[in-house]
Symmetry: C3
């Protein structure tokens, strides 16, 4: 795919991602259940992700796959039968993995099972309790205040039965079997930025990358949080050892600046690649150290795996006001920001794909770039050819002694990797550079 | 001793330290002599410090123990016999180790032997000249200006005879014979912050630590500056090699913020332990690099020993206005600040005692903390149990791969060591952590 | 040479350097040719530099020595014969290495061969095109605007024939054959700061250092840019491997603050020596990382050589407004700034010559400096002897454990190397220091 084709193609990618989020938004998702399956089915219409099912009771390291939970209906009604709270209005109204219940209950008792966001009285919180064996309703503070009667009829019609945990995987074979992992979660109901945006980005990346010739193999994983990555890791320990780089995609559609949370390793190639892309973007951004809480990186970066996987996002989870509430809706994400995030992911992949170590073939003194058309003709002027980037050429020549990769050159020079990569390609063409023997990456 | 008992006990410790300083303040101390012996005797009523005497003429590395000096009386009187300057009013009036003299002298000649603090006309400076073979009076600038007559009678009634240099030592045997050294000087006369505060803190630490079960052995040293530590080192070279950590206590009672002067090694465990305690105290503080001047750390950190010993103080010597003058009196120290300093020393000792390296027993992915009661039940809430510190638990689990000590975990997480230590203990209890084999500290 | 003699001698050195620049200013220099030879001849009257000639056609790594170029005359005249532009007025009027031409030409065509500085309408730019096989005039924007007629007669009377590239070398043998290289370029016509100032400084350094007893051998190289250093390197590869430290001198006469561009190695002894001299000068200065563009360091620091050679200058090339124009004339440099730059070079050489690693002979505790007259007699006072620098003495003693050179001591203490060196010499005298066996530098 040429650069021009790529640009043309991406113009509409943000919109395409937004439309996928729109389509998936109403589906009721949870850790397990039909909502997850339906979500995967819709994605698979675009990219042939393969579904995996892990049976209830399966041991996954320190965990056990729980019963499958499917929520059919739920409501709170006054004694006249008026529904105060109704699942049909928001999939957030029931605490995820609530036990089924149908009873008449005092308002006081009901309040003990009600979750609200006092600081945002119009919003419904998003809450789960996968292992709490409890039940609960999530409602707006306003709805809670409206519970003026003494008793209410409540219903959570949920099945809680042996079944499966479901996740999806898509693989692209590259020139080597070294892999790059891209992962997003698919368990959050009605959360556009924290959940669906990452899913849409991973799906879009898969659909674009399968059109390219690639050095690395790529694995795309869509799975419910925590148990999803753990299930994949447990089933694929040997494959996991081939992962050279990875990113967890989440919160990539909001208005915030790009933020990168480093891998546990901290100075892995993925960490350096992302840092170079963001630092040379000319845009506000933040690079943060690893912390052991967050999303699926908690599992990938546990000490028994310690994979070089970071999180490339916009506003981090918990740091945008709509987080884990009904306000994380379609207005929280935009096609433009989704597209911008995708471009950053693509640029990071370009670094990983294009990084290599070369040997300057004319290392004693500078080679005479002028006679190769790679240098200005008259001193004090410019090369007169916008394809000639003298600074990048000189950096690549100077540092290509076999100990520096192009990413090292980009870091030391402070230049964008793309400029360094292009200069290196020109020098290879002029036989001034050759692959450093026995060095990869 | 339980935590509660410890807290109750320490409430009055600052006051107890202040009272010891009050008691020792009037005693005339110097490099050698009966004042040092009397000082040790008073301390030994509280903690059974053992006295050591090193005879005059003993070689101590590049030095030789000098004659013992005892000052009986000293004065400057006008020819009518009125005492202008009188040792009874301040032990500072005579330059330490002055040669004895009794004569009539011109005011001009007397001025050549007079030391004042022109910028503080009411204060008497503290001066010594252990090897100068001279004599001198220290007086206030006001007293100097009052010398309006032509001649004066002067007397320094001091003995200068073969005797001993005296120091005191107290030892607590711990589980191992690896030692922690706590050292303070006992040679300064009438200096409450620079001298007595350190002595009081070391004595108080000794009295508290002897009640505890300890991993390390502890050595407490009270000795005159320079020659005291050198004499101890010369007599205990083998023991010195067992010192794993140490602190010199000085200037711990004044109103200034805590200041730490690192050991010569700079990144020793003691340096990191103190830095963590101060950084997580939420209080103003300063950590400084080692410099080869100062107090007894000059000897401990000489290149032939290079012991991991720093100085934990409040205002550094020379950096509070009362330093080395009659103004460093009882008003310069307070029970509250002495107590605060002691608490910092105790916290540092807790780091050293509690530091260890563990192995996460469930390193692949996160263990399921929730079913062990170590994690919140409903997402978005808290653990609902103030004893559960999820951040600390996750840090300890994530970094306990056998290469990180708990102090490493505290440093990387930026959390107080006490939080990390407590989380580790809970995880050990739940068999999620075990001692890393063959790793200590 | 004693310190006093040195100071007296240097008082007039700035003036002497300025006068050399004045003498060399009118000579027409280029990459090759008689101007270079004449320049060397004048320098050789002061210091017996030896001339080397490299024949046209000689391969120099990736380059080939071009034809020799000698410019006899050049002008632009209107059809009445009035000279609008005349080489006699400035050697800058012809683009260096212009092909010869004599013809009548349209003003439009002439403008295509004219170089000006639009932002400085009075200045003539300095331009070269060594390999462009073109011709061109450099003129002021005012002169360009004055070309109001339709046609002009132009003449560039230059010879372009097989000959030589010329450079000059001077060597001082020291106690060892390890070398320090000092290099300046001699190809720039009519550029006082960027070119002649470096040449004058290198020549002056050579004339002073040959009077001293030196540990290192010194090589002084005056050569045309790029091909000069390359030619020397190609002819002296074995000698180049003996270079331990080096500086490229350029732009050392202007009013700017001292600026150091580090060697490619970045932490070589030369880099640390210069950093210490500048940091302890109390003057504004800047230390910059290596970049692969600039002057002759491009060749010395190419990956095949990677010599520890930096650039010690005032305003960097391109960063003062007169750069590469007729304004870089005698007003751009001053005797005072030339002298100041020379003093900095001398101080750097003093670091390199004086750096050594010692062993404290009394490493356990501090030695008793007082009885050797190296310490104050009364506490709280000063040593009373300005020759005694207690801080420097204590730093040298504390760090002289065989692992730290005096430059290490200077860096850790933050003191000027000269203070450290002097303290070390006093300690050697008192047998408190001895050479660390088997350690150099």
């Amino acid at each position: 795919m040429t650069d021009t084709a790529a640009t043309a193609a991406t113009t509409s990618m943000g919109q395409e991602m937004y439309e996928l989020i729109e389509e998936l938004y109403p589906i009721r998702r949870s850790l397990t259940g039909d909502g997850v399956r339906e979500t995967i089915r819709r994605v698979a219409r675009r990219v042939p992700f393969e579904t995996h099912e892990v049976a209830t009771g399966t041991s996954v390291y320190d965990w056990v796959v729980p019963n499958e939970w499917n929520l059919r209906d739920a409501w709170i009604a006054d004694l006249e039968g008026n529904r105060i709270v109704d699942l049909q209005e928001s999939p957030l109204h029931v605490v995820g993995y609530s036990m089924p219940i149908r009873t008449r209950i005092s308002a006081a008792e009901l309040r003990r099972h009600a979750f609200t966001l006092p600081e945002h009285p119009d919003r419904i919180p998003y809450r789960t309790s996968y292992y709490g064996e409890m039940w609960g309703f999530c409602l707006s503070e306003k709805q809670l205040h409206a519970l003026s009667q003494d008793e209410y009829d409540i219903c959570i019609d949920a099945s809680f039965e042996p079944g499966h945990l479901t996740y999806a995987e898509f693989h692209i074979a590259g020139e080597t079997n070294e892999e790059i992992l891209l992962s997003a979660n698919i368990c959050h109901p009605a959360q556009c930025n924290d959940g669906l945006s990452g899913l849409a980005l991973v799906a879009m990346l898969a659909s674009r990358l399968r059109l390219r010739t690639l050095r690395y193999s790529y694995r795309f994983l869509l799975s419910p949080g925590t148990l999803g990555p753990l299930s994949w890791l447990a089933a694929n320990e040997r494959r996991a050892s081939r992962i050279r780089h990875g990113l967890v995609a989440t919160c990539v559609g909001d208005r915030g600046a790009m933020t990168y949370k480093k891998s546990r390793q901290g100075a892995a190639e993925i960490d350096r690649a992302v840092a170079n892309v963001l630092a040379t973007s000319g845009e506000e951004h933040e690079v943060r150290p690893f912390v052991p809480w967050g999303g699926d990186e908690r599992q990938f970066c546990s000490p028994g795996f310690d994979l070089p996987i970071g999180v490339l996002m916009r506003s981090p989870p918990g740091e945008f006001p709509e987080y884990h509430s009904s306000a994380d809706d379609l207005r929280c994400v935009s096609a433009a920001k989704l597209e911008d995030s995708l471009q950053k992911y693509m640029a990071v992949i370009d670094v990983l794909e294009g990084n290599a170590t070369y040997l300057n073939q004319s290392p004693k003194g500078e080679p005479q770039l002028g006679r190769r058309g790679l240098y200005r003709v008259v001193s004090g002027g410019s090369a007169g050819n916008t394809a000639i980037d003298e600074q990048a050429l000189l950096w690549v020549l100077n540092l290509s002694d076999g100990t520096n990769s192009l990413l090292d050159v980009a870091e030391r020079s402070g230049l964008a990797f793309a400029r360094i990569r292009k200069a290196a390609s020109q020098l290879v063409e002029h036989r001034l550079l050759e692959d450093a023997p026995g060095v990869t990456g």
